[in-house]
């Protein structure tokens, strides 16, 4: 059994196209950087060294220091942990219940479906950032509240995706056959239908991951997300804004990391969409 | 039968497709002539290469993945396969037309039917708008569309399949072409409509003396309408004969199988007859008989020897090496 799995993975790997490989490699590197952050630097991300204010990139400080004397490189790689973590949870947690809601809604149809559609339409009428900002203005800033806000709203996109696919899928012969055979609803939905329709969700989740990282860093940039002095990519870009003329490295380099991570994830998403043969479909409008 | 009577001559034509899944031989060593004013039928299973042949005449296939391996298609003393894009376009516009299998998707959904019929009309620059419109309405009348004045400005979704196929025929004959290629024109339609469309095609052919190539997988369709029939299998022509001769005296086992597999209403059949095995696609050009695995008369000699179209009787060709075995 294990040998089979290994062989399957090996075969799959051969099918991976360039984009996918490059994306996975870059992302993996970033992941490792985040995981092993303490070992990669001798500095503490919060330590303020008043003798080393606003130093440009050098051998001692690879990315320079900021106006508090903190080493930028250290802060960037510690921020990696935070951003990846927040990005991951904000993407995949809503995916789980969003998919469930969408699946039930699409499968049963009728009034459940209509109500759910109205709900998602309403939620999607608000620009996503605006809604999150709105909720944060009520709850206050901070990572916890970002989670709450996103968990409240982000499921709608997945619900919509899965519902659309389920509507098509439930008329297919194998589902009808399963119904005739008397299989339980949950079994039909999750064991039979789901594996076939989940691919577009997975592809989309990669791009959603990027968007969520951009969201979190954007919110932190505006001051609504991670509060200082916790290092976070967007917050660092904001902090460096005042010093943009003298010390360009404070804003530029964290942003570059956002770009790199996002790009890697996009490559993975793109590679997956080619692998699953959906590349020529319109990329899912967010 | 002199060469001058032939309006279209396909000589040693071969084409293959290069795909990710491998090489596929679509047509091999096709030798076929179309005489002026005749209706030629091409019959074969799905995958036998009939549509590819048709499209190749108009050079519609895009060259990767298609590969025009060899041969010529002569029309008016010119090889169609080596024409420039310009002259090819003129030929498509005025000399050779084609109608396709699925009428519903043959029209652009966001433009009116009338617009599309008169598109690229040869006299468009000379005629006024009104004259063009009237021409189109007359054309629609000719193909049997009622109230063409209203229908003219409707969109394809408002027409039924049968009507759209009539419109497609109108579109094809608008410039009075010399040859009409009909690729399974009735396959996507109801049986009753099928009848009407075939009758329409026949009447048009009679009045204009246009030459026609009718492609179908249905022997019944070609039996009713065609003067001569070519039977295709695995990209090759296995038999070519006048309709009567083909049905009365088939000279290839595949043809025999096809004819026998038609259920007869007045005979007592317990099981329907079929040809055992499935169509095989070839990936390499070879000149051995393609039918040996499914043939009831085949022997070892069949597997080794080369085949080519032989004239068994007068104007009756067969690819089979031993047609005498057929009873």
């Amino acid at each position: 059994m294990k040998l089979e799995m290994i062989n399957i993975i090996k075969d799959e790997y051969k099918n991976f196209n360039t984009n996918l490989k490059i994306g996975i490699i870059i992302f993996f590197i970033i992941l490792l950087i985040g995981l092993f952050a303490p070992f990669l630097t001798q500095y503490d991300p919060l330590y303020q060294d008043y003798n080393s204010l606003l130093l440009p990139p050098s051998f001692n400080h690879w990315f320079g220091t900021d106006n508090y004397g903190r080493d930028i490189f250290t802060r960037v790689i510690y921020a990696t942990r935070l951003d990846l973590q927040i990005g991951f949870y904000t993407t995949y947690v809503p995916l789980i219940y969003g998919v469930m809601i969408g699946a039930y809604s699409g499968y049963f149809g009728g009034s459940i479906d209509t109500i759910m559609m109205r709900l998602t339409d309403t939620a999607m009428a608000f620009p996503f950032l605006i809604l999150i900002i709105f909720i944060l203005s009520i709850l206050g800033p901070g990572i916890q509240n970002i989670y709450i806000a996103v968990f409240l709203v982000a499921w709608t996109m997945y619900a919509r995706l899965i519902r659309a696919e389920m509507l098509v899928e439930k008329n297919k012969d194998y589902i009808v056959a399963a119904q005739v055979l008397g299989f339980g609803t949950n079994r039909i939905i999750f064991k039979h239908a789901m594996p076939n329709i989940i691919t577009s969700c997975i592809i989309f989740s990669m791009f959603d991951f990027v968007l969520n990282i951009l969201l979190v860093s954007g919110l932190s940039f505006l001051g609504l997300g991670v509060q200082p002095p916790i290092p976070e990519w967007g917050a660092m870009v904001a902090e460096g804004r005042d010093f943009i003329l003298n010390a360009w490295w404070i804003s530029t380099l964290p942003g570059f990391f956002i770009l790199l991570t996002g790009f890697a994830l996009c490559l993975i998403g793109d590679g997956l969409s080619e692998r699953f043969g959906k590349r020529n479909q319109y990329t899912v409008s967010v | 039968m002199s060469a001058e009577e032939n309006i279209l001559s396909i000589i040693n034509f071969s084409i293959n497709f290069v795909t990710q899944g491998g090489n596929i031989i679509a047509n091999q060593d096709i030798n076929l002539n179309l005489r002026a004013g005749e209706i030629l039928g091409i019959v074969g299973e799905s995958g036998s290469g009939k549509t590819v042949l048709c499209k190749s005449i108009l050079k519609l296939l895009s060259t990767p993945p298609a590969n025009y391996q060899s041969g010529k298609i002569l029309f008016e003393n010119n090889d169609l396969l080596s024409q420039s894009d310009e002259s090819l376009r003129v030929i498509r516009q005025k000399k050779i037309s084609m109608i396709f299998q699925n009428p519903m998707s043959a029209f652009n959904p966001v433009r009116t039917v009338g617009e599309q019929i008169i598109e690229n009309l040869s006299n468009k620059k000379i005629l006024s708008k009104k004259e063009t419109k009237n021409f189109c309405i007359e054309l629609l009348k000719k193909v049997g569309i009622s109230t063409p004045e209203i229908r003219y400005s409707e969109y394809p979704y408002q027409w039924s399949g049968g009507m759209l196929q009539r419109a497609a025929i109108a579109m094809a004959i608008r410039n009075s072409p010399k040859i009409l290629l009909a690729d399974e024109p009735t396959t996507a339609l109801d049986v009753t409509i099928q009848d009407q469309i075939l009758a329409l095609l026949l009447s048009i052919q009679k009045t204009t003396n246009m030459s026609m190539v009718l492609v179908s997988h249905d022997l019944g369709v070609v039996a009713e309408t065609c003067d001569r029939i070519a039977v295709m299998y695995a990209g090759r022509i296995v038999e070519l004969a006048k309709t009567k001769d083909l049905f009365n005296n088939p000279q290839h086992p595949y043809t025999v199988g096809l004819i026998n597999s038609i259920p007869r209403i007045n005979s007592h059949q317990e099981r329907l007859q079929n040809i055992p095995g499935t169509l095989k696609t070839f990936s390499v050009y070879n000149d051995k008989c393609p039918f040996t695995e499914r043939c009831q008369y085949a022997d070892n000699a069949c597997k080794i020897n080369k085949v080519k179209l032989n004239e068994i009787r007068k104007r009756h060709f067969s690819l089979c090496l031993y047609p005498e075995r057929i009873k």
Binding site: I138, V210, L222, G234, R241, T252 | S105, A106
Partner: protein, 312 residues
Amino acid sequence: MKYIHYIFSKVFSILPVIFGVTIVSFFLIHLIPGDPVRIMLHGRATDEVVKQIYQELGWDKPILSQYFDFLFNSIRGDFGKSYIQKALVSDLIFERMAPSVFLLIYSAVLSILISLPLSYISSIKVNSYTDHLIRSVGLIGFAMPPFWIGILLILLFGLYFNIFPVGGYGIGFFEHLYFLFLPSLTIALFLSPMLTQSLRASILDNLSSDYVEVAKSKGLSNKRIIFTHVLKNSLIPVITILAVNLSWLISGAVIIEYVFSIPGLGSLLIRAISYRDYPVIQGLCILFSAMVVIVNLLADLCYMFINPRVLK
């Protein structure tokens, strides 16, 4: 007649959504833990003052009646009064609307200008290196954080090279174009990859359709085919994409207005949030959602003309 039926059914279908939007906007404020008025005043007020403000804002009435007041007022365009900025919310919104709308339209236009040629090239040279290059570079555009790019563009073109101003809105139409170029470009860089990919997919889809083959068999040249048959069909998704992505346009505009100091609705929102100016926040939320809904409605209505099949 069919047109009227279509229009009515579309307009009708957005009513529940608008309704839902007002409900969410209104009741969300009332979910604030703690006393909203005290939060607004940052805790510096006596009970007397708080009570007075409650009365002024009408927040002491029962909730449902408050909601209906709110609803009817909103329909008339009255979103209440901003206590903190001492003005009618609708006035505040009105005076800041123009720059934001300009920015949105400008960004959309720039996006189309960038995507149209790129998608055309991509689809003509399908699966070539050029195609892959356009796609991969597009992915970079998608992953770029808009605030970061905004700052970089300011740094490069505003400060180092001094070609474009670093912020503000300018006076007069051409100054607007000049001042808003960098901000719109930033937003366009984010939107273009999505637009390019969708356009490319749409063009390729149309190129392989049967009627294109039929057109070819009629003797039309490739150029004719693309211009008369494919382009119109391919543009249909552009309208959808722009309409659907309007919400992302607006989100991006909020951040960009902040970065480039543009006196628009986005910076109004940011300021309102830092002041906890709830009536303004509420009003803006409804406005933005209404914009999204209405633009989507307009897009649906556009389909009437472009794709007659929807009238069926």
